[in-house]
Symmetry: C2
């Protein structure tokens, strides 16, 4: 016997509750049972039989078998979501938006966390392909590495050729994109600082290989250049996209360029580290001595002291938008999600001198 479950007919009474058993119990064919239990809206089954099937299912405690359905229909109702780290509020926000939208479509979300390892990302795309996910959502930024990116794209392309859909938060050169205006946001931040009189501005940046970091940096630099200022490499320090990274980077930056009057941190996590470094390690006042701007507008930004001025990114919306894109027949128009600058208390006029 291939399967211990199906030894004799008598044995079946103990086995799992299948559609087959429900059908028998209701005295109908398995096709009819399938139609009432799984058939989409089109109710093509008589009232009487429908009732019988439904109560049989209830009595037996029938639970449908998604893998079997997937095999038969060759399509599932799961969406794969790949993030760097669920504990990072940035990704948590995207995930929350995605799950909200998924629920409306009765889709389930399978999350994979790469912990920032591009190899793992590729591996997960493969797993999700194996799961026959209906679509894949890449939430994180890509890296600037041809080989890695190439392998990822190949995997993604294979997935699409098999009928899967792909959406990315930010541009990744494959699938539908939910663009986030990193450049514009950084430009806004830099411009605001300039407007406040700051002329010597530094940047605390995340990992240099992340496309997101490059974009934000480019946006800030370009804005400053246009305004007649500058952003030399000496005023940029790269570190981890974390609180500790921000703290270390701020210390290094300010040691190297003590005359800076403002610092733009490329995400809020780093900004909180910058604030801590300036206040606790350097004993300088924000925004009195130094203005600080963050990026993302994560929930805790308003609770920092001073409350953080930061670039707001519509992360939840992006997550929702991504799954909408994925399930839509025709993607249609998809306006750029707007970024905005949220001015709070960590920025002020440049000190004269």
């Amino acid at each position: 016997m291939p399967n211990p479950r199906s030894t004799t007919r008598a044995d079946r009474s103990t086995g799992a509750v299948t559609l087959q058993r429900v059908a028998e119990h209701a005295g109908v064919s398995i096709a009819t049972a399938s139609r009432v239990l799984h058939g989409g809206g089109t109710r093509t089954v008589g009232e009487e039989l429908r009732r019988r099937v439904e109560s049989a299912a209830r009595e037996l405690g029938y639970v449908s078998n998604a893998p079997a359905q997937a095999l038969a229909r060759s399509s599932t109702s799961v969406i794969g979501l790949i993030v760097h780290d669920v504990a990072d509020p940035y990704f948590a926000a995207i995930a929350a938006g995605a799950m909200r939208a998924a629920r409306r479509q009765r889709l389930m979300i399978m999350i994979a966390a790469t912990f920032r390892d591009p190899e793992l990302e590729i591996e997960y795309v493969r797993s999700l392909r194996a799961q026959r996910a209906r679509a894949l959502l890449l939430a994180g930024s890509g890296v600037e590495d041809e080989a890695l990116t190439g392998r990822l794209i190949a995997e993604l392309t294979g997935f699409r050729e098999d009928g899967g859909r792909v959406a990315c938060i930010g541009e990744r050169g494959v699938g539908l994109a939910v663009p986030l205006d990193h450049r514009g946001g950084a430009a806004r931040a830099a411009t605001e600082l300039w407007r406040l009189g700051h002329r010597r501005i530094g940047v605390v940046a995340g990992p240099a290989e992340l496309v997101t970091v490059r974009e934000r940096l480019a946006g800030a630099r370009q804005a400053l250049l246009q305004l007649g200022g500058e952003l030399p490499d000496s005023r940029v320090v790269f570190a981890d996209f974390t609180r500790a990274g921000g703290r270390d980077a701020a210390l290094e930056l300010l040691a190297r360029e003590p005359e800076l009057t403002a610092v733009l941190a490329l995400n809020d996590l780093m900004a909180s580290g910058v604030l801590a470094a300036v206040r606790d390690d350097l004993g300088r006042a924000v925004p009195g001595d130094l203005s600080v701007v963050g990026f993302d507008d994560l929930p805790f930004a308003a609770d920092l002291r001073p409350a953080l001025t930061t670039v707001r990114l519509p992360l939840e919306e992006a997550g929702e938008r991504a799954v909408q894109l994925i399930i839509e027949e025709s993607p249609g128009e998809r306006p750029l999600l707007g970024v905005s600058l949220v001015v709070r208390d960590s920025t002020g006029p440049a000190p004269h001198g």
Copy 2:
């Protein structure tokens, strides 16, 4: 023809790449192909054939079909994780721990967010049963509602009878439990306040129906009683487990009992709201006029001003522990995960008066 994919034999060259096709390409039987591609460690296939199958798979770009495997083996490699809200750092931490552990076992995690709706929670347990998840992890607190809890337990029991495993963060009366010492933590917090001289202590609590809230409240009350103090109902205000909830509750509590010298918030989110209310709305100093203690020790707690004194809960560890429990053959010993009080700047001696 039942399926458009399998019209003629010639047509198959266009169809999906299946094990069958890999086998043909390699000139072996499908059984052999299965053994080399999916067979666990036990390599019972000759070197030559193994090599042929592997290269055939690579050339054809074979990706295994998890639903088909699931059907054939009647077992999957997915774990369902049910949380209230992924964007809540409390759950994000648990999820991160769970994903870390899952990765070690090459298991995938399917996350469902209930948005605090018990009905939805039941619905998701059912979906995850349908997915034939190998195990279920309930991360959130249960509610004190017999009917709802009964239905949930019934669903969970059915799952277990079908061979699924269940683990809960906190006690929920079913499956393996990863106990979190809410009572002990609250007692620690209350005791510390008492030690600092506080005698009139209030509590800003989350939703009264949550078991977690009841436990924490009970722990605080019991500790105070033992110390010779008290915690009358008039000094407890219930609200949402959010920043806004904390703010509103603090305002109400302090209006009602103006002579309080300390407030225990039952989670950090609420504590941040309390801090904001006391500082911005009431213009009182923390900890000068009023001490504030939080609960959970979420990442942002140290960045609040004043830095929040709070009860640390090992959330990531709990998430890891839960999936370990689930995959282990024999659960073995599982020591209570320790809670501790992290004393920072939001607590100080009670003002005399």
